[in-house]
C-alpha cells in the first residue's frame, strides 16, 4: 500500500516506479525468478570470464597484429585446440567483440574525449612506432594512412576497457551464484543488492591500458587519464549494450530508403533489454552466439526446469534468452539504484521528488523494452 504522503506517479510504468521506491526491482520477485536469474547469471559469469580473458588477451598480446589468426587461442596454440577451434567447438568470442564494437560505435563520453585528445595520439603513436619498427610493410602502411593504425588502437582500448569491466562482472555473478548455493540469496532485491554492492565497490577502480612491445611498456591509458570503472565502463556499457546496440540484420532492414533505422544513434533500441527473444537461434541474430555459449554452462537445476518445457531441448536458446533478459533487468535495477541522486528509500519529500523525476526518465526509456512482457 502506498503511504498517504506519497503521490502516485502518473507514468505508464508507475507500478514499476512504486516498486523501485519500495525497494523492489524491475523484475517481480518470485522464487522461480530468483532461481532463473541466479542460474543464468552463473552460466553468464562463466562465459563472461572467458570473454574478458580473451578481450584482455587481444588488447595486450595481439596489439596491431594484422592477421590475428590465433586471437581466440589466448596464447595457447596446440593441435588439439586448433582442431576444436575448426570444429567450432569453442566459446564464441565473436560476441564479446560484437559488444565491444557496440561500445566503440556508440561511444563512451569521457573515454572518447580522451581518445580524441593529443595525449592519446602521442601515446598511441609511440606504441605504433614501436610496433611497426621491424615491419617495413606496416611502416609503409602507417605512413600512407596514418589514421589507420591509430583507429585500430582506439578499438584495442575498447577491447581492454570491456575486458576490465567484464572481469569485475563475471566474478560478481559467480560469487552471487555461490552465495545462492549457500542459501544467502532468496529474493530478487537481494540479487540486485549483491550486484549494486559489487558495482559500488569497484566504482572508482581506475581503467588503464598498457601494452608491452619489445620489452618496453607503453601506457596508452595511464591512471592519470582519470577514467573509472563505473562512469566510463559500466554506464557506457549499459547504454551501448543494454539499450542501443545495433539493429540485427535478421530483423531490421538496412535499406536507406526504407528509413527503418534512425539516423540518430541515441534513438537506437536494439539492446539486450529490448531484443525480441523469439528469433534467437535464427539467421542474423547475433545474441544467438551468447545463448549458445551459455547453453554449455547452465546449472543442473535450471537445465531441469528448461527440459520440462513444451519443447524440451529444442528451444533451449530462446529459454536462456528469456532468463537472461530477466537477469539483465536485475543488473539494470542495480545501476538505476546506484546512479540515483538520493537513496531510493529516502523519506525526504524533496529528495523523493528528484528521485521520481530520475526514475521517470529511466522508465521512459524502458517503455518499449521487454520489461512489459515480464511483469
Amino acid at each position: 500500500m502506498v503511504p498517504a504522503t506519497r503521490s502516485r506517479s502518473v507514468h505508464p510504468l508507475s507500478n514499476l516506479i512504486d516498486r523501485l521506491e519500495q525497494g523492489g526491482a524491475l523484475l517481480p520477485d518470485s522464487p522461480e525468478n530468483v532461481l532463473e536469474v541466479v542460474g543464468i547469471l552463473k552460466s553468464y559469469g562463466t562465459v563472461l570470464d572467458a570473454y574478458q580473458r580473451n578481450l584482455t588477451y587481444i588488447a595486450e598480446h595481439q596489439f596491431l597484429v594484422l592477421f590475428p589468426f590465433f586471437k581466440y587461442f589466448n596464447g595457447e596454440v596446440t593441435v588439439q585446440k586448433l582442431l576444436k577451434h575448426w570444429w567450432h567447438d569453442r566459446i564464441n568470442y565473436e560476441f564479446a567483440e560484437y559488444c565491444m564494437r557496440g561500445m566503440l560505435w556508440h561511444g563512451a563520453e569521457n573515454l572518447d574525449r580522451y581518445l580524441d585528445s593529443d595525449e592519446f595520439c602521442q601515446r598511441a603513436a609511440a606504441a605504433i612506432a614501436a610496433k611497426v619498427r621491424s615491419n617495413p610493410l606496416m611502416r609503409g602502411l602507417n605512413r600512407l594512412s596514418p589514421d589507420f593504425l591509430l583507429e585500430q588502437v582506439r578499438m584495442l582500448v575498447y577491447y581492454s576497457v570491456l575486458g576490465q569491466f567484464w572481469n569485475v562482472m563475471s566474478r560478481l555473478f559467480l560469487v552471487l551464484s555461490d552465495r545462492y548455493d549457500r542459501g544467502e540469496i532468496r529474493a530478487i532485491p537481494e540479487v540486485v543488492q549483491h550486484v549494486l554492492d559489487g558495482l559500488v565497490a569497484a566504482a572508482n577502480n581506475p581503467l588503464t591500458y598498457a601494452v608491452e612491445l619489445q620489452g618496453q611498456r607503453y601506457e596508452i591509458i595511464p591512471e592519470s587519464a582519470g577514467l573509472t570503472f563505473l562512469m566510463d565502463a559500466a554506464v557506457p556499457y549499459v547504454e551501448a549494450v543494454f539499450f542501443r546496440s545495433f539493429p540485427f540484420f535478421g530483423t531490421v532492414s538496412y535499406n536507406a530508403q526504407a528509413h527503418q533505422i534512425s539516423p540518430n544513434q541515441a534513438d537506437f533500441n536494439y539492446g539486450a533489454l529490448f531484443a525480441d527473444p523469439l528469433p534467437v537461434g535464427g539467421a542474423g541474430i547475433p545474441p544467438t552466439l551468447l545463448m549458445q555459449d551459455m547453453m554449455h554452462f547452465v546449472p543442473d537445476y535450471l537445465q531441469e526446469i528448461y527440459m520440462r518445457g513444451l519443447r524440451g531441448s529444442d528451444d533451449l536458446r530462446v529459454k536462456i534468452c528469456l532468463s537472461f533478459q530477466k537477469s539483465m533487468f536485475c543488473v539494470t535495477t542495480a545501476v538505476i539504484r546506484g546512479l540515483a541522486p538520493y537513496p531510493l528509500s529516502t523519506t525526504d519529500p524533496e529528495q523523493r521528488q528528484v528521485n521520481r523525476i530520475y526514475l521517470e526518465q529511466w522508465m521512459d526509456r524502458l517503455l518499449e523494452s521487454r520489461l512489459v512482457t515480464l511483469n
Binding site: 567450432h88 569453442r90 589514421d147 589507420f148 583507429e151 533505422i261 544513434q265 535464427g282 542474423g284
Partner: protein, 615 residues
C-alpha cells in the same frame, strides 16, 4: 592427363553442390552443441578444389579447340536429353573466374557473417549458387543452361530470403523469384519450341541449325522474344530489373556474386543464344532497345539512390544493358570481355561497401563521410573498383568499352553516344559515392571506423591487386589492341566522358563548401529516379493486376457458379449428409453393408439385362 582433365571437367559444378550437401548436418540442426563454421570450411575447401581443378583444365585447354563432353542423362522414346558440356578457353575461363570470385566472396563472408548462426545455410546456398553458375559456364546445352538458370532463381530466392524473419526480405525474396520466374517461364516456352523445331538443344547444333532454319517471321520473332525474356530477367534488364534492387536486402557476400557473376550468367546464355535471336530482326531490335533503355535509365536511377548497395546494383543493370547492346550488335567477344571486367570490378566494389556497412552499421550515404584515412584497404578497393568500372584509366572496363565502341563504330555509331552517357553518369555516380562516403568530415555513425578484420580485408586487397594487374594479363593474352589499332577519337571521347563525370561530381561532392545533400534536379524528378521510374507501379497495373483479378474471378466462379451448378447433386448431398449423420457416430459398418449391397444390386440388375440381351 589432359584427357582425364577434359573428362572430369563436369565435376567442377559438382564440387559446389557437394559442398552444399556437406552442410546439411548443421543447416538442418542435427549438430547443436557446436557451431556451424565447419560447414563453411567444407564449402571453402570444395571451392578451392573447384578452383584448382578448373585452373588445371584451363591450363590444359588454353591452346586447344573447344571439345564437347556428352553425359547421357535421359533417354526417352523419340527424345533424348544429353547434358552437354563444352571445354574451351572461354567456358573454362568463365568457370575459373566464377570459382575464384566465389572463393573470395566465401572468405569475405567468414568475416561478414561471423556473428550469424545460420552460417551453414548460407554456405549451402553459396555452394549451390556456385555449382549452378559453373554449370552454366560449361554447358553447351540450352536444356542444361535453362535448368541451371532456374536453379539460380531458386538459390537467389533462398539467399535473398536468408534473413527470412525480416519483413522487407520476405517481399524482396518473393519479388526476386517471381520476376525471374516470368523470364524463366517465357524462356521455357522458347526452349520447348526450339527443341521441337530444331530437334536438338545443344548450342553447337543450334549454331548449325540457324543456317538452314526456315521459320516464318512470326515464329522466329515469338521464339526470339521468348528466348530473350530469360536473360532479361536474369540480367535485371528493364522491364524485369526491379528484383536486383530489392535483392540488396540479402547478405552482402551474396550480393558480391549476384552483381558480378550471377547477372553475367544470364548474359552468357544470351550470348550463346544470339544466333537464334538473329533469326528475327524484331527480337534483335527489342534486345537493343531494352539494353539501351536500361543502360541509360539505370545509370540515372543509380545517381538518385541514397542507399549504398542500391546505387551500385542499378549500375550493374546499366552495364548489363551495355552487354545486351554488344550482343545485339553481334560482338560476342566484346560482351564476354565486358562481363569479365565488369564482374571483377563490381565484385571489388561490393566487397568494399560490405566492409563499410559492417563498420558503420548503415547503408545510408547521407550518414557517412570521412572514412578514407582510417580504412585504407576499403578505400583503395573502392577507388580501384571505381576506376576499373569507368573508362578513365586504362583498367578493366576501359578496354572493354573501347572494344565495344570500336565494334559499333561502323555499324551503328549512334550507339557510342549511349556508351559515353553511361560512362559519364557512372563516373559521376561513383565519384559522388566516394565523396559522400570517404571524403569530408566524419558523421556520428562514421566517427569510429576501424578497418575491417583480415578475413574481409584479405580478399578485398587481393582483388584490388588483381584488378590493377588485369590489363597486364590482357596484354599477355593479346586481348588488348595494339597502339596502331586504337581509334584515338574513341579513346578521347571515352576519357572525356569519364573525366567530365568525375570532375563534375568531384566539384560538387569533394568540395567542402557545398553543403550536402545536394539538390541537382527538381524534387519530382529525383523522386521518380529514386523510386526507379515507378516500375513497380507498372508491375502492379499489369501482371499483378491480371493475376489478382484472374484469381478472384476464378475463385468467385468456383464458389458460386461451378460448385453451385454441379451442386444440384450437392443439394442432395447435404440432405443425405444430414440424414446419414448417424454413420459418423459408429454405425458405419451398417452403412458399408448398405453400400455394398447397393453396388451388387446394380451389378446384378445390369448384368441380367446384359445376359438376357446376349442370349
Amino acid at each position: 592427363m589432359n584427357q582425364l582433365l577434359f573428362q572430369t571437367s563436369w565435376w567442377v559444378p559438382v564440387y559446389g553442390l557437394a559442398g552444399a550437401l556437406l552442410t546439411l548436418p548443421w543447416s538442418v540442426g542435427l549438430v547443436r552443441r557446436t557451431g556451424p563454421r565447419p560447414a563453411a570450411y567444407f564449402n571453402i575447401l570444395m571451392t578451392i578444389l573447384a578452383l584448382v581443378h578448373s585452373g588445371l583444365v584451363l591450363w590444359a585447354v588454353w591452346d586447344l579447340p573447344p571439345e564437347r563432353l556428352l553425359v547421357p542423362w535421359l533417354s526417352l522414346p523419340g527424345f533424348d536429353i544429353w547434358l552437354t558440356f563444352v571445354t574451351s578457353r572461354t567456358s573454362v575461363g568463365a568457370v575459373f573466374v566464377i570459382t575464384g570470385l566465389s572463393l573470395l566472396a566465401q572468405v569475405f563472408a567468414l568475416g561478414y557473417l561471423e556473428k550469424d548462426w545460420a552460417l551453414a545455410r548460407f554456405y549451402a546456398l553459396m555452394g549451390f549458387f556456385e555449382g549452378a553458375m559453373t554449370g552454366i559456364a560449361l554447358s553447351d546445352s540450352l536444356f542444361l543452361s535453362y535448368a541451371l538458370l532456374e536453379m539460380l532463381t531458386l538459390s537467389t530466392y533462398l539467399l535473398v530470403g536468408f534473413w527470412y524473419a525480416q519483413p522487407l526480405v520476405v517481399t524482396a525474396a518473393r519479388d526476386a523469384f517471381l520476376t525471374k520466374r516470368v523470364g524463366d517461364l517465357l524462356l521455357l516456352m522458347g526452349v520447348v519450341t526450339l527443341s521441337t523445331l530444331a530437334g536438338s538443344l545443344d548450342f553447337t547444333h543450334l549454331d548449325q541449325w540457324v543456317k538452314v532454319a526456315n521459320l516464318s517471321p512470326l515464329t522466329a520473332t515469338l521464339l526470339g522474344l521468348a528466348l530473350l525474356a530469360g536473360p532479361t530477367g536474369k540480367c535485371a534488364i528493364f522491364p524485369l530489373n526491379l528484383w536486383l534492387d530489392e535483392a540488396m536486402e540479402g547478405p552482402n557476400p551474396a550480393s558480391i556474386l549476384r552483381n558480378s557473376v550471377v547477372v553475367a550468367c544470364g548474359a552468357y546464355v544470351l550470348i550463346k543464344l544470339q544466333p537464334v535471336l538473329a533469326l528475327s530482326p524484331i527480337a534483335l531490335n527489342t534486345l537493343m532497345i531494352l539494353g539501351a533503355m536500361t543502360a541509360v535509365g539505370a545509370s540515372l536511377v543509380s545517381i538518385a539512390q541514397i542507399d549504398i548497395k542500391r546505387t551500385l546494383s542499378h549500375s550493374t543493370s546499366a552495364y548489363l544493358g551495355l552487354v545486351f547492346l554488344a550482343v545485339g550488335t553481334q560482338q560476342d567477344e566484346v560482351a564476354l570481355l565486358f562481363l569479365l571486367t565488369h564482374g571483377i570490378a563490381k565484385a571489388l566494389l561490393f566487397m568494399s561497401i560490405g566492409s563499410i556497412i559492417l563498420t558503420t552499421s548503415t547503408q545510408d550515404l547521407t550518414e557517412m563521410g570521412g572514412l578514407a584515412s582510417r580504412m585504407p584497404a576499403t578505400t583503395s578497393a573502392f577507388v580501384v573498383g571505381s576506376l576499373a568500372t569507368v573508362g578513365v584509366l586504362p583498367l578493366g572496363c576501359f578496354w572493354a568499352m573501347l572494344a565495344w565502341s570500336d565494334g559499333v563504330w561502323f555499324k551503328a555509331p549512334e550507339l557510342i553516344g549511349i556508351l559515353l552517357v553511361v560512362n559519364g553518369l557512372t563516373a559521376f555516380n561513383l565519384t559522388r559515392v566516394f565523396g559522400l562516403v570517404f571524403w569530408g568530415k566524419p558523421q556520428p555513425k562514421t566517427r569510429r571506423a576501424p578497418e575491417v578484420m583480415w578475413l574481409m580485408a584479405l580478399p578485398m586487397v587481393f582483388l584490388t591487386v588483381l584488378t590493377l594487374l588485369l590489363p597486364l594479363l590482357f596484354w599477355r593474352w593479346q586481348i588488348l589492341p595494339s597502339w596502331s589499332e586504337v581509334n584515338p577519337i574513341l579513346v578521347g571521347l571515352l576519357l572525356l566522358s569519364g573525366l567530365l563525370g568525375c570532375g563534375l561530381a568531384g566539384w560538387i561532392y569533394l568540395n567542402p563548401r557545398i553543403t550536402k545533400p545536394v539538390s541537382l534536379v527538381g524534387k519530382s524528378v529525383r523522386e521518380v529516379l529514386a523510386y526507379d521510374f515507378c516500375i513497380d507501379r507498372l508491375y502492379k497495373l499489369s501482371v499483378v493486376l491480371g493475376v489478382v483479378q484472374g484469381s478472384r474471378l476464378t475463385a468467385w466462379l468456383d464458389r458460386y457458379v461451378v460448385d453451385g451448378l454441379v451442386n444440384f447433386v450437392g443439394v442432395a448431398s447435404i440432405f443425405s449428409g444430414e440424414s446419414l449423420k448417424y454413420t459418423i457416430s459408429g454405425q458405419s459398418r451398417n452403412y458399408l453393408l448398405t453400400l455394398f449391397v447397393g453396388v451388387l444390386l446394380a451389378l446384378t440388375l445390369l448384368s441380367w439385362t446384359h445376359w438376357g440381351w446376349s442370349l
